[in-house]
Point group: C2
Chain length 494, copies 2
């Protein structure tokens, strides 16, 4: 064994990852539990796949990004097969749907909640491991499945206390394809033609928020020079084509019927486009029949996120209340969930098209929204702390916490070095303890305990007048036999 002195390892969370403590963990868990109950009520079953998938099974299908495996954490097994951490919950579902296709019910409704990993440059608020919470229906070709997921999303937000603060917006890839046809950049008899131009148009639409109409128009046309002077090549389409594409993104009218009429006009003779409009109409009708009005679900062609990835309906949930951004300006909270129909993912494995549709909720963003709205359910109450005045009487203190716990009260004995009593109270403070128990040898001899109401104590220290203090003392002495009842009453009062 070598005796050379080794450098001590760094105690650091790996770059781009983070740790979650206490209430951060319970708040997320509470939220996910609530969401799971809604999913369950809709007939969805949980599925938990492992974190690791073969790179082959994962493929390179990221919903938002057009990039190969570089976005995943991958390693080679025994110098043979490559495996990787899953980057979303959809790719594993596609694998499962193909692998167990003879055993699963069809349609297969499943939900999944868990971490996913992205091998990307971390940034502020951007982590390389984060939670997703998905619900998908595999094997249902009817858009009733898409409508169901939109209704379920609305129920999730209502259930989380966000009623009136959200909107689910629906669009359809087929309508966009119809618009592409009308704009002369998609030939239904030769789908491969204009592929490059379509790619440019799709990416341009995706940047509408950031670049504005003029920027998108430039990209659809001759190209765009950005502020730094860099030039991005355009699709080279005439201005009339850009007109049609931009009219599509701005086609939302006051009612779903009017919006659909406008879309029908824009797609012209396109069969695919007409199909897309009909799908939107069918979804709108189903949702209206279930009572989901325009205050909760709307047809909105400005939903462009993910249009390049999905094959039919696309939907996005947005929170409409305002928050202050980093610079103190008001802005809408924005998108917290997105999804749509992706009929080609299972086909990769089996060769047979399997219709599928589903949604992914951004867990961290939704939790941030709940926090901003004061709707987070997190247990931040610390335990009752039984202090240690006399080290040799540990068994007595343990008996006290046992009695408290039996009564359902969170409680613990102080297990640090008991010498400095001040440290024990500092500890109770750090734990956010509501109550501290004190029993020195004098109290023990008399069969009593001191019970310190730390919540009240903090209030008194902060603001109360002497009169109030007298009325309800922050520390009482009671017989040991009244310990549990007294603590219980204190907890209820605080």
């Amino acid at each position: 064994m070598s005796k050379t002195k080794q450098r001590r390892p760094q105690a650091e969370t790996p770059k781009g990852f983070r740790d979650y403590f206490g209430a951060e963990v319970t708040a997320r868990k509470e939220m996910l539990d609530r969401i799971a109950r809604v999913y369950h009520r809709y007939g969805f079953d949980p599925l938990e796949t492992s974190a690791v998938e073969t790179v082959e099974a994962l493929g390179k299908f990221l919903p938002d990004v057009d990039r190969p495996n570089e976005g995943v954490f991958a390693w080679q097994e025994d110098e043979k097969d490559w495996v990787a951490l899953r980057y979303d919950l959809t790719a594993p579902l596609a694998r499962v749907a193909a692998q167990y296709r003879n055993d699963l019910p069809s349609p297969y409704r499943r939900y999944a909640m868990g971490p996913v990993w992205r091998n990307e440059k971390p940034g502020p608020g951007r982590f390389r491991q984060f939670y997703q919470c998905d619900a998908d229906t595999v094997g249902a070709s009817t858009v009733a499945a898409d409508a169901e997921i939109c209704a379920m999303l609305a129920d999730v937000f209502e259930d989380l206390g966000l009623g009136g603060d959200f909107i689910v917006r629906i669009n359809n890839r087929k309508v966009l394809n119809g618009v592409m046809e009308a704009a002369g950049v998609l030939d239904p008899t030769d789908p491969e033609r204009f592929a490059e131009e379509r790619g440019i148009v799709l990416r341009a639409i995706d940047k509408l928020d950031r670049l504005g109409e003029a920027g998108v128009r430039a990209l659809i046309g001759e190209g765009r020079k950005d502020d730094s002077g860099d030039f991005t090549k355009g699709a080279g389409l005439p201005d009339a084509s850009a007109d049609i594409v931009l009219a599509f993104t701005a086609a939302r009218r006051d009612s779903g019927a009017e919006t659909c009429a406008e879309l029908r006009r824009l797609v012209g003779d396109s069969v695919t486009g007409a199909e897309g409009v009909a799908e939107l109409e069918e979804m709108a009708a189903l949702l209206a029949a279930q009572g989901y009005g325009a205050d909760r679900v709307v047809i909105d062609p400005s939903v462009v996120r993910g249009l390049g990835y999905y094959t039919g309906p696309v939907y996005e949930a947005e929170l409409t209340f305002e928050i202050l951004d980093e610079k103190g300006r008001k802005r809408q909270f924005g998108s917290v969930a997105g999804g749509g129909r992706y009929d080609d993912l299972v086909k990769r494995f089996t060769g047979q098209a399997v219709p599928a549709t589903g949604v992914s909720i951004g867990v961290d963003r939704l939790l941030a929204a709940l926090t901003a709205k004061g709707r987070v359910v997190a247990d931040t109450a610390g335990p009752v702390v039984v202090t240690v005045m006399d080290r040799t009487r540990m068994a007595d203190y343990q008996a006290m916490v046992r009695d408290l716990r039996r009564a359902g009260i969170r409680a613990e004995v102080y297990l640090g070095n008991p010498k400095n009593f001040g440290n024990q109270l500092k500890y109770a403070d750090k734990r956010n303890s509501p109550v501290a128990i004190i029993q020195g040898s004098d109290e023990a001899a008399r069969g009593v305990v001191q019970i310190k109401d730390l919540v009240l104590g903090a209030k008194i220290a902060e603001s109360a007048t002497l009169e109030e203090w007298k009325e309800r003392p922050a520390q009482v002495e009671v017989p040991l036999s009244e310990l549990v009842a007294t603590v219980k009453a204190m907890l209820e009062a605080s």
Copy 2:
């Protein structure tokens, strides 16, 4: 874009990993939720670290195995730092305890639940990703912390419905060290001496179950030839030394006091050994004072698992009921949790010793035990299925499930191809649905629905006589307005 035809990817779970479906997920979640409630009541806070740690932070400390990084899944970041998937929940805790040492309360009680990964050869029932469920106290040097964890473990098993079927067994590494001194293989004035021999003795003790007394004696002595003829080098100690070591593992007497007396005799003059015995006595006294008798917690020097890893008290929880093994023979269910005191893990990072003790529950084994005892709480009830008789009336069917869900009933519309009605009933069967709803155009015209009690139907098909069938028909027709109430009554009766 290349047009060469690509091989289709295999739809396969990576080797050594597995997928969990439906009730498998909810049963584990229910169990972990119950355990978390006990941990919480004891004042433990949740901690969730990321799956990824730096290899440097992980070190090579596996509790059961004496091996380097080969047991972990690791990869290199940007051709620089190595990172790896965590192989347990203790190493990340040690990192956290060091990293946040100025912010965390001290003592820091935390629990953690989640998957860990081992890069090992998979075998039957051995997976490379599995759940652990840990509770640890960092910063408490008193064995009251160890006793608390043993009491908490007992409470966990009681709470899970395993009262009377478990035993928590306690041993102490310091007693073993005292025994090592008495056996002449540990010199307290020169701890490095005899390191190799001690390693052999430790490993031999660890194999007591498998090799029996004679095998261990051989390894402590001149060495052991196994059945295949392979020779394992021994520690070369005299037979008297083996006597002492083996007497230690067999030192359990009828009462804790008698066991401690025997241990005190065995450790002779060893100061460390006497300290270990005193710790056992203190733990026993604390637990007895809280009412944990010998039927739930015992001192048992035959607990040897992990003695090489831990530095003080060691504890193990065993389930004592019998199950049938693969060959149909009765055997005790055995160990489902283990832990102990490891005062050196945080020191790796900071250079300062930080006392720590904790337990890890084997989640899969405990879940298997609960299943064997019929104590699993898993929601296996499928949804009420509203069948589709008339594709154009999807909105009506959706309205039915909406009403059912509002009443808290799990329900869904059949979203597969509705053409073949038999397939819809087969689907309901596969989903384990309790009730199916049928409304064709005839029923719709009359404002009624058919409600099929699938649970009763299955019972009738299996065994009931004609009389019973008449009394409670498995299918009823009711007005649409009575749909929810009728389904509710059916679910309550089944």
